[in-house]
Amino acid sequence: MSEATTKIVLQHVGKSLATGRDLEPPEFVIDGNTTIQLPSAEEQKTGFSLETNEETLRVARLFPTMFKQVVKKDGSGVNIFPLTHIPTTDETGKEEQEDTNSSEGV
């Protein structure tokens, strides 16, 4: 399986910075002069990927208290890493992964 098909998955776990209470999933985030549209609240809560991993990681880097990074691993479910962790090849299992699409199994 090629490296390009490994999708990074995020899950909305939104925590307020000020109060620590839960926040609802936002419709979009804005980074500088770019708007990144996010999927429905339901999808955000179960797990989602954006069109490119770069875009997904951008969202994770912007709001790490709001989104948790979830990475599928071949056959054995998911690994949940610290918020800012960028997974290594070994951790993603991308060499063996058959279907790395979207939020399946999250």
């Binding site: 939104g14 307020s16 910075l17 000020a18 109060t19 209470r21 926040l23 609802e24 999933p25 936002p26 419709e27 979009f28 985030v29 804005i30 980074d31 500088g32 002069n33 770019t34 708007t35 951008r58 880097r61 912007l62 709001f63 790490p64 208290t65 709001m66 610290p82 918020l83 800012t84």
Partner: protein
Amino acid sequence: MAGSFKSNKQVFLFNPDFYRQVDFLTALDDANIDARHPQINGTFAVKERTRTTRYDCNDVDIIEERIDSEFARKQFQFAGTAEQIAGWLALSYGAVAAPTGTPQNTQITLSSTGTVTSGTFLATFEFEGLTGQTEPISVTATAAQVATALNLIRSIKNGGTVVGVSGTIADDNLILSFEGRFANAAVPNLTIDNTAVVGGGTVTSTRTQVGTNKVHSGTRAVSDVLPYTSFIEGFIGDSTNPIKWYGFAVDVIIIEAQKGGDLLCTVELIGKSDTIEAVGYSIPACINPTSINTKDCRISVNSSFVAAGLSSFRFERRNNIVTSAEAFAFDSIELETNERGDKPTETLSFSYQGSRGDATYTSADAESSVPVLIYLGKPTERVTISAPTTNLKLGSPPVSFDGALRKSIVNIVGQPYYNSGLSASSAFEANIARTAAFLVTEP
């Protein structure tokens, strides 16, 4: 250029929706720059130029000063609303999430456990470093009577209002709603002292609805490209057209307060030096802002509020926008990009009535890194700046004297460090009624 410094009053017009330009070169529409910005010390935007001086063939006399590059800088200071401060913070940090949440007040329900026949109870309300306790309240009091007792205590009065909604303690449904400066805010539960309750049972307090407002989260952009804004400057009574500046990004934002006054915000913008004449533009009417008072601001250091004794504070954030040669095109003097510098900087400082040996002093003396939260405004409309890993140091001098009473003031300096939980050194959150996101493009 339109406008002049005659005897006319200079006005600064902005986009109250805090839209961002679609790109660096496309100014906001005049129709969206439709509000006068409050300003205390404002400067007309000025062009800053670098020049090469050329001398004659004897290398003695100047024959030319050639402009190599130019950009414009605008600085203003204002006492404004939480929404205005949040808007400028959004432009400074550069990244926001669409707002979430449904506004609702905190509701607390009083009920009884066991047998309560008569007697009185005391209710204590502790909020952000202030604590107050009611006079004795009868267990048979109505909701309105309980609310009246609560509204007299220090931690609630000064703008807070508890409304007795309905019910009785005997029926386990005496409902209180927290409004005024607590409207749409999460406030803590009451603590009940049952010492004087008769019958063996107790009065209990339960937070049955947690207050919330619209939440706007903001953080430092991953992109070096900051959001751009446009504004108009003009003069009241001047017959010439106002001028529009565009391609401006926030370089510096300073938020500071002294005890007893208004919260002051200073903003410095950098943008393109060429302007557009706003033909046919009509200067909007003045609207007096409801500015944030210092008494409605709080600082929390390592989860403890520096409340009644807070004397002053200052938070400064700099994007250090690049204005050196690399920001300009090879074949032009115009600003080509307007990007954040490689090392944005943040600092904070605060002073409070204290002494050597208190917890904050001790943390600063040990140069510990602790979470610091700066709350700007009443809970119902407020902006919170969070710097979760702030390295504290004692100021210079560490202790000074303040006011007519010459009380000891501890001076603290804080350096926000990178925090892995934020992927930055600080972030902000606005809990305000505004429903539209900051930094969207013009509709």
